[in-house]
Symmetry: C2
Subunit: 183 residues, 2 copies
């Protein structure tokens, strides 16, 4: 699997942006390379010259989306210094994130569902994202079990919102976290 370190060409940027929308909204399996190329105003050859394979493009999509998400959370956290407020801010960030996105759940969870082979790199990427959030919590609450419980609330809010149709899931998860945190 090729890894892209060099800066992306303009065409590659367009491909990645288009793939980001299509993969997330329609699902990885329902979007072909032909469609991505066409929507990006590019030929299939260019897509393969830049990314090498569909798997590599999928991984690039997940990594860029993950980066956007982490930056988003980090920025909303930076406003607070009190650990308790920082924890609660992650749930407010989730609420705001969900308000601007189609109700399609977690891209990492979805990708793992579509590519079930555990040796596929998307599983590593997904585990890393979840570990990042868990470690963020662990740095704020000291108690490891509590950190896991906060992660559970966070992931549960995403599923309850996107599949379960629960209104204000993130806010309710925030309230639950508030009750769990020591005072």
């Amino acid at each position: 699997m090729r890894v892209q370190n060099r800066p992306l060409t303009p065409a590659a940027r367009r491909v990645l942006q288009v793939a980001g929308h299509l993969f997330y909204e329609r699902g990885i399996g329902c979007v072909g390379m032909e469609l991505i190329a066409a929507e990006a105003g590019v030929t299939k050859k260019t897509v393969y010259d830049r990314f090498g394979s569909k798997d590599a493009l999928i991984l690039a999509y997940l990594r860029t989306r993950d980066e956007r998400w982490r930056d988003f959370v980090t920025a909303r956290l930076a406003v607070f210094s009190d650990p308790r407020e920082r924890v609660l801010a992650t749930f407010e960030a989730l609420e705001q994130w969900q308000a601007d996105e189609p109700r399609r759940g977690c891209s990492m969870v979805n990708a793992c569902a579509e590519l079930p082979d555990p040796s596929h790199p998307v599983h590593r990427a997904a585990a890393e994202q979840k570990a990042w959030l868990r470690d963020l919590y662990a740095g704020l609450v000291a108690d490891g079990t509590l950190a896991d419980q906060l992660l559970i609330l966070h992931e549960g809010a995403i599923v309850a919102f996107s599949v379960g149709g629960v209104a204000d899931a993130a806010a309710k998860a925030r309230a639950a976290a508030d009750a769990l945190l020591p005072r």
Copy 2:
């Protein structure tokens, strides 16, 4: 979309059982009708004569799995009469369920990820399953927000376990539920 009400023929039962394993472990998109027929010791014609289409077979798979899951939970709940104990028993049931299953998450969530069209019947089936659990909680705790929070913990435990690699996720969700429940 055809609906099966008549009792299944022996061949149809085998098909459904095989499809259950393959769809869950390898993902719906990665399993073709040809493979299902072969593994069930049946021809493709029989599969289509019994189920009509792949979509209908997917739905039958989800419904039977859902029924198995609800029966499992209901049985573990029946031992207790105290509402608080009954709530906590749902998390113990999840823990036992996960112990006997491959770490592949929720079949409903996975199906929604693989078939993103919201008008596809799997989305209704998934929403119904989550609503069933939420209503179960709502009948035990009276407070609607708390019922939603318990659902969030439940769903979060599944994702944290299967994608996040969190050990004892169900037990930790149970402990969190225990802390949230009024005493």
